[in-house]
Symmetry: C2
Subunit: 394 residues, 2 copies
DNA sequence: GTAATTAGGTCGACTCGTAAATTAAATATG
DNA sequence: CATATTTAATTTACGAGTCGACCTAATTAC
């Protein structure tokens, strides 16, 4: 139970206004009032505070002189007022991204490192070291850094800031946040990479009003994320939505997690490529995961009429449909959004996803949830992790 | 977005105090302050309002004179200040329950009716008619009726008040609330019966502080319910948590829902009894579902060493474990609570549930969620539906 | 030039919750 | 038995919030 008092109201309305501005761009005070349902008086009070602090500022844009009356003066976030650093840790790669208060990525760099050989101490050193070095090039941003966000694949305990297990690391139960917190003296948010993507999608105007949706990310693995009641749901352990490791069938191909019959073992890039190589003459991939080019090649084979390739995608879609059916039965969200590199083949999957749902879902629930794909871009994780970090800004 | 203003604070703190009193019984003002984290001044202000309205009252109990100082005066809800009517609709049976403000059932009656032959109009008439007749015997309660709650098996659209599909009715997409709302001029809450049970459990002191748990009810079917972030989660369509119809395997025994391989088709009473009759000499059951006595007999056979019976329960437990593993992967709650008539055999299921989880769940998540049973009693649904209805009281 | 219109700001009334002071009602103590 | 002590509950003063009503500013329409 948390108590309600009057200062929390102001704080809540403040972030409400800030978030409204972040999502809906520069807005006149009247519009803010309409969107937040705050009275003009309150909007004026809060915005003048924010202007005084430099968080927002008036942008004099020759607003299309629509109608008469005093012209509205637009105000927008001042992107230069605060910055956040996003760190995305993948297998042998660290991506550092600098975001402004608006949530845009203003600088980015990629460092390669042997992430598998790290222990807790050297991981700490590596993260702090790389982040410091990166920030040195952007002293202005460094000065106004308000928070950090770390995205990592695998299972994450978001509440405690631990990576429970990640393909990027050989060690388990690793604290990812303490060293950075100490070094930069600001809050550090840790999140599963799929949660970052879900968060990024959630911040899009079209999705902001959808309080309940699930995101499924297909790529090197299969991840999931839930936005429930308008908030990222990360479960009691901070480790929810491991959709890829829900089961299609108790017996089945082996998954990267070691168990049999996970959705991921049918749908992830590595699974498709592995199974395809048993049927089709494909070049061996020397990496742990097939490359984007290799996957594009396989996808094109299916589009060009290769029956075994086609059947593999059909099966993947059907399995995905089964998994989604379980989500629909349990959560019944408004939408399921499929994204990730794997959407490159969404045209091949779509029909069989629907068929799988049809086959598995209790008929009365069929058709109540929209299934749709979301175009994938590489920097969604980055935008998401920065947005998540910026959540600490008030 | 909802506006925050100062009166909402008072409203929120008011219900906070009322709920605290409902759950933790009569309490002194100091204790209320401690539990709600409100200052003594605020507690005094709100409680004196509530006393003036008659919602709560001082109960002079010879409080064990522990220590010196001014003795605390306990205040508790005034059960006679408001009443709620709960209606539980099952196959050929309508159970009517009168609850006081405390949430206790003060009167109850059961009516039999041919629920399967009803159309929308005759259902409306039946519900209104039976409720009116029942209330006639309790004019005092009728006068202070604040809300109604309707519990029904099957798939429910709680937001809109529709029964999407129910074994109790032959018609689908039936509005269950409009007629009652019009007749009694007060809000009517509709809920799936398992959600009622989950709500009842959630109101227990021990569970109130657990904001994330799942409830699985085993009986004539297998139902599920989710308490997320401290609130009953009913999904965008108001139809979440159909745990029984998540899948164990794409091919498998036929479920009551018509699909193959649902968890329910292995675990529900009807499934166990059906499969047992194929292996063991058991009396045919003339009802659609085996009776409690018949199920007790089957359970006892397994306890007494009948190998085929034992194996059936083992399989049911394992399947349940698989299903729970999917819930853990997706939701990662703090606890999973198993209840319903089926817990009569929990001793037979427990080990194989754990084995099933172990087998299916990604190892890193094993052991993070407590699985426990909750003793079943017939009136949990009633208490839950009344508690749900009383949620409208402020 | 004046009226109409729309945006934004100011001020007073009201509400809320809290800290601190005060009152109430018991026990402990000598 | 009177008084100090202790704990519970209430009252008071105050700072913080929102809102409605009114006012001012800056345009366009005529």
């Amino acid at each position: 139970m948390k108590k309600s008092d009057t200062e929390q109201i102001r704080a809540a309305n403040r972030v409400d206004i800030i978030n409204t501005l972040r999502v809906f761009g520069p807005l006149a005070r009247v519009d803010i009032g309409q969107r937040t349902r705050l009275s003009p008086a309150t909007v004026t009070a809060i915005t003048s505070d924010l202007v005084a602090e430099g968080v927002i500022r008036e942008v004099q844009k020759p607003v299309s002189a629509t109608g008469r009356g005093r012209p509205r003066v637009l105000i927008g976030l001042n992107p230069d007022h605060a910055s956040a650093l996003g760190i995305k840790l993948s297998i042998n790669e660290i991506r550092l991204m600098l975001g402004d208060l608006q949530g845009n990525i203003v600088a980015e760099t990629v460092v390669t490192a042997d992430t598998q050989s790290l222990d807790q101490a050297s991981l700490n050193d590596l993260l702090v070291d790389q982040a410091s070095r990166f920030l040195e090039d952007y002293p202005d941003h460094a000065r106004r850094l308000v928070s950090l966000g770390v995205a990592i694949q695998g299972i994450v305990d978001a509440h405690r800031g631990y990576s429970v297990w990640s393909p990027a690391l050989s060690i388990k139960n690793v604290n990812m946040t303490a060293a950075l917190e100490a070094a930069f003296e600001c809050p550090v948010e840790l999140a599963n990479d799929t949660n970052c993507i879900a968060h990024a999608i959630h911040k899009h105007p079209e999705y902001l009003q959808k309080p309940d949706f699930a995101v499924i990310m297909i790529g090197y693995g299969v991840g999931g994320s839930l936005i429930l009641n308008g908030d990222l749901y990360s479960g009691h352990n901070g480790a929810a939505a491991e959709f890829g490791h829900t089961k299609y069938t108790p017996t089945g191909p082996t998954c990267a997690c070691g168990k049999a019959g996970c959705i991921e073992a049918y749908v992830a890039d590595y699974a498709l490529y592995r199974d395809a190589r048993a049927l089709i003459d494909l070049p061996e991939t020397d990496r742990r995961h097939p490359s984007e080019d290799e996957m594009r090649h396989l996808t094109q084979l299916a589009r060009d009429g290769s029956t075994p390739a086609r059947e593999l995608f059909d099966r993947a879609g059907r399995v995905l449909g089964f998994g989604i059916a379980n989500v629909l039965a349990l959560i019944s969200p408004e939408r399921v959004v499929v994204t990730g590199p794997g959407v490159r083949a969404y045209d091949l999957l779509e029909d069989s996803i629907q068929a799988g749902i049809q086959e598995a879902l209790i008929p009365e629930l069929v058709g109540r949830t929209e299934i749709q794909s979301y175009p994938w871009s590489e920097d969604m994780t980055g935008k998401g992790v920065i947005a998540l970090a910026l959540g600490h800004f008030r």
